[in-house]
Amino acid sequence: MQNHVLGLARYLRDAGHRPQVLAPGELGPAAATLDSEEFCSVGSAVPVRYNGSVARVNFGPLSAARVRRWLRKGEFDLLHIHEPITPSISLLALWAAEQPVVATFHTATPRSRSMQLAGGVLRAAIEKIDAGIAVSESARNVVVQHLGRDAVVIPNGIEFDAFASRQHVRPQQPRLIFLGRLDEPRKGLDVLLAAVPLIEEAHPELEVIVAGQGSRSLPAWCSSLGTISEDTKIALLGTADVFVAPHLARESFGIVLVEAMASGVPIVASELPSFLDVLGAPQDEERLGELFAAGDHQALARCGASSPAQPDPLRASRAQQAARGYDWSSVGSNVLAVYRAALSAAPVPSAATVV
């Protein structure tokens, strides 16, 4: 989500708008691409267990006052909030907003039970959203069912050319890549590690490379690059023979898949709704990658073994073409279209802002 917000802010800036980003926590390295005037932090966030994983959140009167001050100082025409229904600055900003609000729903929409228990305050906040955006059809379903609101589906964006223009350097041995947090079970690294010995029966020389935050013990045949930069990631994808996304649950949007597609790498992914939105259904002849039931390491091994053996260049180029549709040039202009629609229904007809 951080990359998404920063990518959108860059797009808006290049399109001649003056976006400002308010974010929880400290400045990450990725924020260095924006000026310090464009980026503001509410201060250190508190890690709290929320919705099944540890979230860094801001709450309380102090944070609320900071958010309100930022909103007043910026005199924004429009406020774009990401993941509005999280107990953090998103919700505080929504609460304090006096300008038209566009809200993007990624995933962490709370269970309807906690929605009911939180009561009218939350309902009233949701009613303040002027235009909803959902990153996928499945994210939109959640918005419709749990919040009783509607949303326009606009996927997350990528810098297509950065991925597609890489020259492919095929290493000698077939190479399998995993990207994602190593220590978070729902990213599914365990499923992959269980499947690799089975894949190696068909491809004894298989090389397995994982990259992502977090630390954990890994078998000797698996090399880990740790946290990698965007450029290293692009280069790494350019050397891959197969990209595996073994996620177990609750992935809001398959941006990792789209990046792999843009790089022209064959994909093996678990059958999560958000992945199917990107790749197509398992029974679809035209689907853009191999799919397996989430958590099933044997099924993963079967897909993983066939990919390097019989590469499907036609499918890879189809996938690359599909990934072009996720370039910021089209995603960003769709977002701008929603901004314009929200502004055209604003009380006072009036640059853009992202939280």
Binding site: R149, I154, A341, S344, A345
Partner: protein
């Protein structure tokens, strides 16, 4: 319990009820206002779409049959003082006609296409606003205390949606 205590309790309860009603009234008011404003935006977007559609007739090599089809549908949608029902039907017809015609054109009418996308988003925002207003109006407290006032109940604008408009995921 003494009479003073009972009185005090009644006053507190009345204050809570009053605060709740005021707060709900604010929400109803905001929802109604949003439904109205989004309708004005949708109305304007539909008019612009029809105007852009009429401009297709000016394409140099357009055949007369296409020109007649489009201008007829666009003119019907631009007809003043249509009833809501007739407007919905006319706009749906225009959507269908544009769906059929646009792919056959030699050049992509980008202005028209962006107006179609705009109208589609505006319609979604409007119907979303209407749904919020309606669900608030159905609430017990809102009905009992007539918090919706005399504002007419907003209705969603039903019309045939254009086919895919280049949203990569909006299938």
């Amino acid at each position: 319990m003494s009479a003073e205590e009972i009185m005090g309790l009644v006053v507190i309860l009345a204050l809570i009820l009053g605060w709740r009603i005021t707060w709900l009234a604010t929400r109803v008011d905001r929802a109604n206002a949003r439904a109205e404003r989004t309708w004005e935006a949708l109305d304007a977007a539909l008019v612009r779409r029809a105007q852009r559609a009429l401009e297709l007739v000016l394409i140099p090599d357009i055949d007369p049959a296409t020109a007649l089809l489009v201008s007829d549908a666009a003119a019907a949608a631009l007809e003043p003082n249509l009833s809501r029902r007739d407007r919905e039907r006319a706009e749906s017809d225009l959507s269908h006609v544009l769906d059929a015609v646009v792919p056959t054109l030699s050049a992509n009418p980008s202005m028209l296409e962006s107006e179609r996308a705009r109208a589609s988003i505006c319609r979604r925002l409007h119907n979303d606003a209407v749904a919020t207003a309606q669900s608030l109006r159905r609430r017990y407290t809102v009905r009992i205390f007539r918090l919706a006032g005399r504002a007419a109940e907003p209705r969603p604008f039903e019309m045939a949606e254009c086919r895919e408009l280049g949203w990569p995921c909006d299938r």
